[in-house]
Amino acid sequence: MILLLGSYLAGLLGSLTGLGGGVVVIPLLTLVFGVDIRYAIGAALLASIATSSGAATAYVKEGITNIRLGMFLEIATTIGAVIGALLAVYTPVNIIAIMFGSVLIFSAAMTLRKKNQDALTEGSKLSYLLKLNGSYPTKDGVVNYKLKNIGAGFSIMTVAGVISGLLGIGSGALKVLAMDTAMRIPFKVSTTTSNFMIGVTAAASAVVYLQRGYMDPGIGFPVILGVLAGAFTGSKLLARINPQTLRIIFCVAIVFVALQMIYNGIQHKF
């Protein structure tokens, strides 16, 4: 019952801050409920899929998501995710905890930084070859954008995939970094496209986790239901409140959680 409420909060916070449900689910399960981190990762993967699919229904209608770009980069993330899920067997749990803490801090920093709003007018050769340039609708009409540094973006995506397979989170922050900073995609497009990819990436590693027995039904069902309900409420609330202040408070909180995870990891408390 508490788990259900907790997951609801996790989904709510995840969708309000744009970090995704998994990031909140893992510390909640491990630090508060004392669940083994491997079960927590399995549950977090489910949370990632649930938030991604839940939110995507809203975005596709607006036509912002760049499906071609998402599909192309999914080659990198799915391969990475499978590698990550395989690596997870051989990685000691305390190392996973330390890595998770570091990724958390990084994600918190990423949500606070300046966002790329400008659309590039000149793309690289590869971007034309792969038909990755696109456009999206705004209030002032359709904006066209072009891409560059596709190689760099593709490599960062592979890393993002490995991390998401290893830690069970969507690693949306890394995905946005690859698209925003390296490939110079406008923020709106990169956020929605990354959301589209998170579901597919998480599904690729979730199968491995499921077959390995990392997903427990007793933990799974409250997490799925809680996160879905939370994400739904979050998307409704988001229209009414200003998430910027909330985001800052949340980021400070998450840094503390991250430090706790790293500390426990070093102390071998998992």
Partner: protein, 132 residues
């Protein structure tokens, strides 16, 4: 310019269908998980909380497709929950398959190829015997 626009519109119709698909998938998964969850609580709710602090892993009944389907048909609570989990995992994969169909309709050979690679990676992880 005109044919670009018509291609875009085709894309959008498929996208709407995909959006619906995602919603139905998520709703079905949560309903199935909820049903299983209620059954689970009726059975185990009064008992002590299982020791999740010790990692033991799950038996074959929860981790193989056959085990899950058989158990769910027999209305075992835990397998019904795992069936919900399966549906949830299947939704994004179905989305990739739908995108593949969309690219086939558009005769976009490059992206048919790219989507196939993605599908192959996912299928390898499902059937590739990665159970280490």
């Amino acid at each position: 310019m005109k044919h670009i626009f018509s291609a875009l519109w085709g894309d959008k119709d498929v996208e709407l269908v995909v959006g619906q698909l995602l919603r139905y998938g998520v709703v079905t998964a949560s309903v199935v998980a909820l049903t299983g969850g209620i059954m689970y609580l009726l059975l185990h709710g009064s008992g002590p909380v299982p020791q999740y602090g010790n990692f033991i892993g799950e038996g074959a009944g929860y981790t193989t497709f056959n085990g899950i389907f058989k158990g769910a048909l027999a209305l075992n609570a835990t397998e019904v929950i795992q069936l919900g989990v399966l549906i949830l995992i299947a939704t994004p994969i179905l989305r990739v398959i739908f995108s593949l169909l969309a690219f086939i309709l558009e005769k976009d050979k490059l992206y048919i190829f790219i989507t196939l690679i993605v599908l192959c990676v996912i299928m390898t992880s499902i059937f590739g015997g990665l159970k280490v």
